[in-house]
Every structure is written in structure tokens, then in C-alpha cells.
């Protein structure tokens, strides 16, 4: 496929790795933020091509993994109602809530459907005016425009039986939290190419300056990742801390302006709890007052739920880059993708699931 295959060229990858080895004089730790990048790194063995002095740690960039347990509980509660058609991206179904997951609701007769696009959920709502169609809107900035589009169209079309259970998180506040942590050992970041395709790069400038870290906006194919890492290492070796763009074939400095305008129209910035990390101020999106009638939490009266997790899962440390999946005693034994203890084992973009699939 064009714009995919050529970025998987093994020979070019080896040449990148050689060039990189020639650059490095000291050990560096680089974090990739995005779970899609984590998946590609482990799948294609990008980390194995790097000189041993470069350590890649995996960040919190898997929306499925950081969705807090009480939101899963809310989803479970809503999905079990007889009038509801509950629509979700597939990887949310196995994420454990306090008592059960969405798969269990489906097995018990709940109408839970796996859907590819929020626009499909909207179409479903128009086909079934007698049912309540709820969409589990999980995601980072990348996914926000499509969710905003679905809500805006529902409003224009007057589709009253459609609502969103919103669990949106934002990347820059998470980077700030990680960099502010006393145990931080990350020297440079690969920022997520598709998040920046939407939002642009400006939000990262103050982070690079304040914490003196290079941040390189990077794509998702093996060559993109190797180039992003090389650009980061080059900055580190030269003592620079700038925002650079490896993924310019998709990312413009200002992002996608129509998408940003639509997000701002439908959503507002809210505090958000991240599974394994805790609450981060101004780190999420919630529906604006004007769109409150599309908020499933209000419609179904579940807004006040809270829950704490208590398991042996160390995914919080993994999401902060302090541990790797193989450090977890439950990995591959008590915790597998079929029976996950934590969300990082559920999503294909979760670090534990990627290691389970490619590194056992």
C-alpha cells in the first residue's frame, strides 16, 4: 500500500540504525507517547535495531488503557439497559470494570455492538428512533474530531436518541505530569503524529522549553520511528531541546483548523482521571453546555459514580515509563489478553498486549 510499504523497507531501516549508532555517545531514554507507536515498535522490532545505550520506554498513549475503571462501570450500567444499543470500539469490550466488562453485558443479553466509526452509531440512531443509541467516545485528540462531527450532526439533524459516554484525554497535560514527576527519567519524547495532525505542534513548545526536552512529532511506520528517534538523539547529543516534525507528510504546524474549530465548538477542557496515573487537571474533554443533552452520563444518571482499583496490576508504572511489562509478575501467567487484569493487556496498543503478542 502506498505510504505504508515503503516505510517498512528493511534495508533502509538497517541504514538508519547504522547512522544512529554513529551518533550516540551517551545513554538516552526516549518515550514514545502513542500506543500505536508502541505496537509498531514491538511488532517490527524497532527497539532491537537500536544501539544498546538507547532505551525506549512506552508512554500513556493508549486511550483504552487510561480510561478509568468507573467509566467502564458506567458503560456497563448503561449498556445493560433494555432500551439501549451500546456502541463501542472493539477493544473497550474486554477492559475489566469493578465487577464485569462489556463482553459480560453482551453475553447476558445486552445490545452491545462493536462499531468502527461514531458516524455509524449516528446512522444506527436514525434507523432505530425507538431505542437509545449510546456511543462510548474514548480517545485522544486524534479521535475527537470524528466524535465532535457525530454530535454536531446529531444536533443539526435533531436526532434525540443519540448520546455519548465521553472519556476523552489530552496528550500535552500527560507529558507535563510525567516530566514533573520526581522519578522522571525520560530525556526526549516522540510525540504522536496523528494527535498532532489534528492539534498541530504549538502546545509542545512550552514543554520542550520548560523541561529542556526534545519533542519530535513522529509517524507510525518503522522508518518513521527510526527517523524520529534519530532526530531526538541528534538533538540530545547537540544539547538542543526543540519541537521538530518528522511526520510532515501529515502534520502541519497549525494542525487541522476545521477539525480544531469543530472540537472547540462541541467540547470543553475538563479535569480527567487517568487509569494508573490519577487525576490530571485540564487533561480531558467533556461536552459543552450547548451539547449537554447528548451527554449519556446525565441522560442515564450515572455521573456521580466513582471506583478505585485494587489489583496486583502495575500498569500505572508502565504507563508512566517506570516499568516494562516483563517486570510484572502476573504477565503471561495470571494476566493474558483472554483474562486481562489491567487495561494495558487489553488493547492491541497497550504495552502488555504488544509484549504478550510479540515478545514471549
Amino acid at each position: 500500500m502506498k505510504y505504508v510499504d515503503e516505510y517498512r523497507d528493511a534495508d533502509a531501516a538497517r541504514r538508519y540504525a547504522d547512522a544512529l549508532a554513529g551518533l550516540v555517545t551517551r545513554p538516552w531514554t526516549i518515550m514514545e507517547i502513542c500506543g500505536g507507536q508502541t505496537h509498531a515498535i514491538v511488532k517490527f522490532g524497532v527497539d532491537a535495531l537500536l544501539p544498546p545505550t538507547i532505551t525506549l520506554v512506552h508512554g500513556p498513549g493508549c486511550p483504552v488503557c487510561v480510561t478509568p475503571v468507573e467509566l467502564i462501570d458506567k458503560a456497563v450500567e448503561i449498556a445493560a439497559r433494555p432500551e439501549v444499543i451500546f456502541c463501542s470500539y472493539g477493544d473497550m469490550l474486554r477492559v475489566p470494570g469493578t465487577a464485569k466488562d462489556l463482553f459480560a453485558v453482551k453475553a447476558d443479553g445486552g445490545d452491545v455492538r462493536i462499531i468502527y466509526s461514531p458516524l455509524d452509531a449516528l446512522a444506527l440512531a436514525r434507523q432505530h428512533p425507538d431505542r437509545q443509541v449510546v456511543f462510548f467516545a474514548v480517545g485522544f485528540e486524534t479521535t475527537a474530531p470524528a466524535h465532535a462531527l457525530a454530535v454536531a450532526r446529531a444536533k443539526t439533524l435533531g436526532v434525540a436518541n443519540f448520546s455519548l459516554l465521553v472519556s476523552h484525554v489530552l496528550v500535552p497535560p500527560a507529558i507535563r505530569t510525567l516530566l514533573s514527576a520526581p522519578g522522571n527519567r525520560v530525556d526526549g519524547f516522540l510525540a504522536a503524529g496523528h494527535v498532532c495532525t489534528v492539534m498541530g505542534m504549538n502546545e509542545y513548545e512550552p514543554l520542550a522549553k520548560q523541561f529542556r526536552v526534545p519533542i519530535v512529532v513522529t509517524g507510525f511506520e518503522p522508518l518513521d520511528l527510526l527517523q524520529g528517534i534519530t532526530m531526538t538523539v541528534r538533538q540530545l547529543e547537540e544539547g538542543r531541546a526543540e519541537v521538530e516534525n518528522q511526520y510532515a507528510r501529515s502534520v502541519r504546524a497549525e494542525g487541522n483548523l476545521p477539525a480544531r474549530a469543530l472540537i472547540a465548538e462541541v467540547f470543553r477542557v475538563v479535569p480527567r482521571k487517568w487509569r494508573g496515573i490519577g487525576e490530571i487537571p485540564e487533561s480531558g474533554l467533556g461536552l459543552r453546555e450547548e451539547y449537554a443533552s447528548f451527554d449519556a452520563e446525565q441522560r442515564f444518571g450515572v455521573a456521580a459514580y466513582t471506583a478505585e482499583e485494587s489489583t496486583e496490576c502495575i500498569s500505572g508504572l508502565i504507563l508512566r515509563g517506570e516499568r516494562k511489562p516483563l517486570d510484572c509478575p502476573a504477565f503471561g501467567t495470571r494476566c493474558t489478553p483472554e483474562h486481562p487484569l489491567g487495561a494495558t493487556m487489553v488493547s492491541s496498543e497497550g504495552a502488555c498486549a504488544a509484549y504478550y503478542r510479540y515478545r514471549r
Binding site: 500500500m1 502506498k2 505510504y3 505504508v4 515503503e6 516505510y7 534495508d11 533502509a12 538497517r14 541504514r15 538508519y16 547504522d18 547512522a19 554513529g22 502513542c34 500506543g35 500505536g36 498513549g61 493508549c62 486511550p63 483504552v64 470500539y89 472493539g90 477493544d91 468502527y116 466509526s117 461514531p118 458516524l119 455509524d120 474514548v138 480517545g139 485522544f140 486524534t142 479521535t143 474530531p145 470524528a146 462531527l149 454536531a152 450532526r153 443539526t156 504522536a192 496523528h194 495532525t197 489534528v198 507510525f220 522508518l223 518513521d224 527517523q227 534519530t230 518528522q246 510532515a248 507528510r249 501529515s250 502534520v251 502541519r252 487541522n256 476545521p258 477539525a259 469543530l262 496498543e349
Partner: protein
């Protein structure tokens, strides 16, 4: 779920918020919203995520990854390499 992939825009219909296109992903064709990429025209490659196109791939920039690699190669060749590589990429043995 954050996966977004490039596909070729083969036809367009509708306008503004209702603008959609048929996009081919290596032969698999899907209908996607073009509401957020008003600049997209037929034949463009667009990056699509959960049913909405998010950007048009910039053809010139797409080459950059390889140009960067060439440059790195040239820089490398400025420093004498004790193990020149042959065509197969194997290090030659030099006594």
C-alpha cells in the same frame, strides 16, 4: 484504536459537513467523511481515522524520510569507516 491509515480518494460527493468520499485502502473501499479536509481532491491520499479523513498526505514531504537518510549516509561517509559495507550490507573482512 488510534490507528489512522492512508488511502486514495477515488470519488467525492456531498458538501460541507455532509461531504464524503470513497477511499481505497489497498483495494478495500470505504466511505469516509471529508468534512474536515475541504482541500482534498480526487486522487489525493488522505489519512483516515474512525471514519473521518484528518489530513491530505503531502507528496513532497513524504519523500523527506528517505532524503534525510541519504543525508545521514553522506555525513557518515565523511568519516572514514573502518568496515566498508559491500552490496549485501555485510562488513568486509580486512586483514
Amino acid at each position: 484504536m488510534c490507528l489512522a491509515i492512508p488511502g486514495k480518494l477515488i470519488s467525492i460527493s456531498g458538501e460541507e459537513m455532509e461531504r464524503t468520499g470513497r477511499v481505497s485502502f489497498g483495494g478495500i473501499i470505504k466511505e469516509v467523511s471529508l468534512a474536515l479536509v475541504p482541500e482534498a481532491v480526487e486522487g489525493d491520499y488522505v489519512i483516515v481515522h474512525v471514519g473521518a479523513a484528518l489530513s491530505v498526505v503531502d507528496e513532497a514531504e513524504a519523500e523527506e524520510t528517505f532524503r534525510y537518510l541519504e543525508e545521514m549516509g553522506e555525513l557518515e561517509s565523511l568519516s572514514p569507516n573502518p568496515f566498508p559495507r559491500d552490496e549485501d550490507g555485510e562488513a568486509e573482512e580486512r586483514a
